[in-house]
Amino acid sequence: MSILINKDTRVVFQGITGSEGSFHAKQCMEYGTKVVAGVTPGKGGQRFEEKIPVFNRVIDAVEKEGANASCIFVPPAFASDAIIEAIDAGVDLVVCITEGIPVLDMIKIKKYLAGKKTRLIGPNCPGLISPGKCKIGIMPARIHLEGGVGVISRSGTLTYEVVWQLTNRGIGQSTCIGIGGDPIVGSYFTDLLPLFNEDPQTEAVVIIGEIGGTAEEEAAAYVKAGFKKPIFGFIAGQTAPPGRRMGHAGAIISGGKGTAAEKNTAWKTAGIHVETNPAMIGEMVASVLKKK
C-alpha cells in the first residue's frame, strides 16, 4: 500500500503537448506510471510519443481510457479552468504543478471542491510519488527508495533534500507529497495525515513546513488528537525577515503570526520530533526509528 497513488493509478496529463508537460509526462512514463491519455484542447486525435491518445476534453480520457488521476501543466491564466474540468470529469486525484495561479481563483476552486470526491494536490507543487509504484510530478525519481516513511512538504527542492537524507540512510518512503507553496492549496497536512495514519505501509511520517499561514498549527492539533505513528518535523524560514515574500507566496510572516518559532513550539507540544537544522532531519528519523 501507499496513499493516493499506486501501480493501478491511470493518469491523464492536461497540457501534455506543451514543453513542460511533454517532458514530465515522458519522465513519469519512464518511471512506470500508467500515463493513459493527454488532453490539449484542439489537439484531440493526435498521439503522444506515438502511443498515448490525446483528447480535447478530460471527460474523454476518463470514459475512453479509464483515467482516474490528472496531472496539470497548464499556464496560470487557464489552470483554474483545467482544475474545474478535471473535477467535473470525476477523477479521484488532481495534481496541479502550475505556479502563479491568482489567489482569488484558488478561493473559488477550494469552495468548488467541497463535497466532491476529487482531491487536489497543489498548485505550485512538485506533485507526489509512491516509490516503486507511481510518480505524478516533477521530482527526480532516482533519489527515492521504497519503504515506510510518508513525507508531506510545502516545498519542492527541500523535499528532495530530506528524501535524499532518508534514502542515504536506507530509510525508504511510502508516499512523498509536495502540497505546494501557495497561500491556498487543495490539500493541507491535516487532509493527508489521516491517510498515512491508516496506511499499513507507512510506519512514520516526516512533515516539512514553512513560515506563514496556520497549516502547521492545524497539523499540530490533529497529531495531538490521535496520530498513531512517529512523526518528525522541520520548519523552513527561521531566519526570514517578516513581511517578505520568500519565493513562495505563502511564505510571508504577517503581523507577527506564522513565525518558525511559533510553529516549532506547536509541533513540539503535539509530540512531533522537531529538528531545527535542515541537514539533520534524516539523522533524527534514523535515530528514533532505530530505537523502536
Partner: protein, 386 residues
Amino acid sequence: MKIHEFQAKKIFSEYGIPIPRGDVAKTPDEAKAIAKKLGGTVVVKAQIHAGGRGKGGGVKVVKTPEEAFQAAKAIIGMNLVTHQTGPQGRKVKQVLVEEGLAVEKELYIGVVIDRAQGAPVIMASEAGGMDIEEVAAKTPEKILKVAVDPATGFTAYHARKLAYGLNLNADLIKKATPFISSLYKMFLAKDASLIEINPLVITKDGNLLALDAKMTFDDDGLFRHPELKELYDVDEQEPLEVEAGKYKLNYIKLDGNVGCMVNGAGLAMATMDIIKIAGGEPANFLDVGGGASAEQVENAFRILLSDKNVKVVLINIFGGILRCDRVATGIVEAAKRIEMKLPMVVRLEGTNVEEGRKILMESGITFEVATTFEDAAKKVAQLAKA
C-alpha cells in the same frame, strides 16, 4: 505589488468610495497651487510605500498655500525613516495635498485574504487611527470580521453586520453600506491581496471618508490587470531585487555577508537557516528556480556579488530536473567572466552530480567543494569569519 496612497485613492474614487479632495504634487509650486485651489487648511503627505509617515515627519498640516509650499519643500527629497522603511529610509519624490477635515471619529476597515478560511475577510474596528496589528494582538474583541463566501458573494447583511457593529448612527449606516460593498467589489475586481483604510473617518458634518488608503495586489493576478502595471514604482524597490526580477530570479537582500544561491524557495530558506546555525549570517535569499538555465545562474551570480557586504558565496543546488553538470558549467563560465575573487563553497547534489563536480574541479577556479549540506554551511561560516 504595493502602490502609493494617491494611486489607491484614485482607484477608490473610480469605485465611488469617498476620499478627501486633493491631488499629488512633485514640486513645492505644484503643492502650493493645489492648496490654493482647495482653500483653507490642507494636509501635505509624503508618498512612500511605508506606514508610520506621520511620526517620521512626512505629514504636515498647514493653513495657507505658502505654508503648503514650505511643507512640500521640506518633505520632497527628504529621506523619510519610519518603522517600516528600515534605518536607511526612503527618498520622498512626491506629496499628496489634501483638504483638511474636521474629524469626529476615526475607524478602521480593511479587506484581506484569510488563508485558514480560504476566503476574503472584511475587518472593521472602532479602534481606528492606531496600529491595527497591535489592536488585534491586545484587544482582538475590538475587531469585527466578516468572511465572504465566493459562491454567495457579498450581501447587504455583511455590510449591516459591520456597520451596526461599529455603532454608527442611522444616517451613517446608510452611507456605510454602499461604502463597504464598493470596497469589496474593488478588492475582487483588482485581484487585491490587501486593502486597508486606517483611519476611515466620520467628519463633524456627518460624512464617511477614506482618509488613508493602502492597497496591495496579488502578484499572480497582475497578468489580467494591464492598467495596474503603470502604477509600479521602481524607485520604491531594492535595486538588486528589480534587477533579479528581470531574469525571473527571486532575490531578497538581507544584512549578512554570506551570499547564497539556491534552487527552490524552500531549500533557499533552509539554506539561510543552516548558515545561521553554523554561525554565519546570510546576505540574501536567492532562488534560481527549479529549472535554472546557465544564463540565469550567471545573472544570479552577478546580482549576488554586486552586494558589497558579501564576503563569501555558498551555492547549494539540489538537481532534479535541473542537472548538476549544467549548473556547474554555468557557475564556471560566470566565475571566469566576472573574475570572481571571493571564496566560494559549492554543494551540488542530485542528477548528474559526478559530472557536475568534475566540471568544477577541472575548471581551474578555486572552489571549496562541499559534500553535504552540513559541510557546506560549516565551510562558509568559517570563511566568513576569517
